[in-house]
């Protein structure tokens, strides 16, 4: 399974975090406390602000009110999170290996080597294929492989199982388990259930639309 990469004990806390984009308030103020080595699954109808919450935690969007803190991470150790959104950030004209190599170099490798990461996500046979030929599900797997090549404690996943088949779901479960084993945090917005090893590893938070 994934190598024993022990992260410092990291926890995420948010107090009355109110997210929004373009001035419109999305969802209700959120209180979070994600203990080290656990996952948080975000549920809720479309437009409840799941993606906006993830973007806020990723530091891309600014919170309207309240704040959140990441305890246990020294900022000058470099970037702390991986964001995996709906768009897979895959260049069609580059081959699958070149895509992953680029991300390994840009995010500063240190995790699995490119061939092993491709093997983990089941794309090792297509390494030399241009990424333009990949299906949506395979593109999603390539995006997930990016998380493996450079280990980071916090994963922010926006519907990781989108466009994936049944064993794709199992793959996502395995990857998240691997990350939690290594002491990292995972926050995933998802509609379908993600099977994790232990029951206590994931808490669920359901967001509703703003009143």
């Amino acid at each position: 399974m994934s190598p024993r990469q022990v992260f410092p004990a990291l926890s995420l806390h948010a107090q009355a975090l109110q997210c929004g984009r373009g001035g419109t308030v999305l969802g209700r103020p959120v209180d979070l406390a994600v203990a080290p080595g656990t996952a948080l699954l975000l549920r809720g109808p479309n437009g409840a602000g799941k993606t906006t919450l993830l973007l806020t935690l990723a530091g891309v969007v600014e919170p309207l009110e309240g704040n959140f803190a990441l305890r246990g991470w020294d900022p000058d150790e470099g970037p702390v999170l991986h964001f995996c959104g709906h768009r897979n950030a895959v260049k069609p004209r580059l081959s699958v290996r070149e895509n992953l190599q680029f991300w390994a170099q840009v995010n500063g490798g240190g995790g699995l080597a490119v061939p092993q990461a491709l093997e983990q996500v089941g794309l090792d046979m297509l390494a030399n294929l241009d990424a333009g030929y990949l299906s949506a599900g395979q593109g999603r797997r390539l995006a997930l492989a990016r998380l493996l090549v450079s280990p980071r404690p916090l994963w922010l996943l926006d519907e990781p199982t989108a466009a994936l088949d049944r064993d794709g779901h199992a793959l996502v479960g395995r990857l998240i388990d691997g990350q939690l084993d290594a002491g990292g945090l995972v926050i995933a917005a998802t509609h379908d259930a993600i099977a994790l090893a232990g029951p206590g590893r994931a808490t669920t938070l359901t967001l509703e639309r703003a009143p």
């Binding site: 964001f83 768009r87 260049k91 680029f102």
Partner: protein, 221 residues
């Protein structure tokens, strides 16, 4: 290879493998130059006098054309959002893209300018001088281009807006660019013009990555 080299190599590979992107810019540059005699008439003396200005205008327009390719593809497939989490700060990544933009947009024009010089009946001395001023001036155009592209990346149909935004900012580059080519009567100030041009290029290349990164961050996603 660190993140800077990786971004630079990837952009070059994407453009060169992308089929024809570089070629279209060079063709546009040559066509703008070739059109001039049709508009102005074949009179050799007049063409020779206009040539430096025309080569600069052709370079200026074709660099504007190549702007949209700088950030928009990365924005649309989500790469730009992830580049903010890269090991390297965003200004450094933007600097790598700026260098790639200069190599892909400006260098081919320098290589194609002898053809234009021939067509516009330029003499050899002022051709070398034009080449030198282009080499010194185009980094500034690339830098302003990067700023314009980063500002309009967030807008859906912003592709047309970037050239309008950076044209006023590029006026000094055009003035000193053509001024650096000694021509005709009047005091010969081409030496000082070249120095001013170099100064503008250095300032622009030094500050553009930070301004562009600031615009990308301010644009959020």
């Amino acid at each position: 290879m660190n993140a800077f080299g990786a971004t630079l190599a990837r952009d070059l590979r994407l453009a060169l493998r992308g089929g024809g992107d570089v070629l279209t810019l060079v063709l546009f540059f040559v066509i703008v130059g070739v059109v001039v005699p049709f508009a102005v008439g074949p009179d050799q003396a007049l063409l020779a006098r206009l040539a430096p200005g025309m080569i600069w205008i052709a370079a200026f327009l074709s660099m504007l054309l190549g702007l949209d390719r700088l950030f928009r593809p990365d924005h649309e497939d989500g790469t730009l959002l992830l580049l903010r989490q890269a090991d390297l700060p965003l200004p450094a990544i933007v600097a790598a893209k700026l260098v790639a933009h200069w190599l892909l947009a400006a260098l081919p024009l320098l290589l194609a300018s002898p053809l234009l010089a021939l067509l516009l009946s330029m003499d050899l001395a002022s051709f070398w001088r034009t080449l030198l001023s282009l080499a010194v001036g185009t980094p500034a155009l690339a830098a302003f281009g990067a700023i314009g592209a980063s500002i309009t990346v967030g807008i859906g149909r912003g592709g047309l807006l970037a050239p309008i935004l950076i044209a006023p900012l590029s006026v000094p580059v055009l003035i000193f660019g053509v001024g650096a080519i000694p021509a005709g009567p009047g005091p010969d100030q081409s030496g000082s013009a070249l120095l001013f041009l170099a100064a503008i290029s250095l300032i622009a290349c030094a500050t553009a990555p930070f301004a562009a990164a600031l615009a990308i961050n301010a644009g959020e996603d």
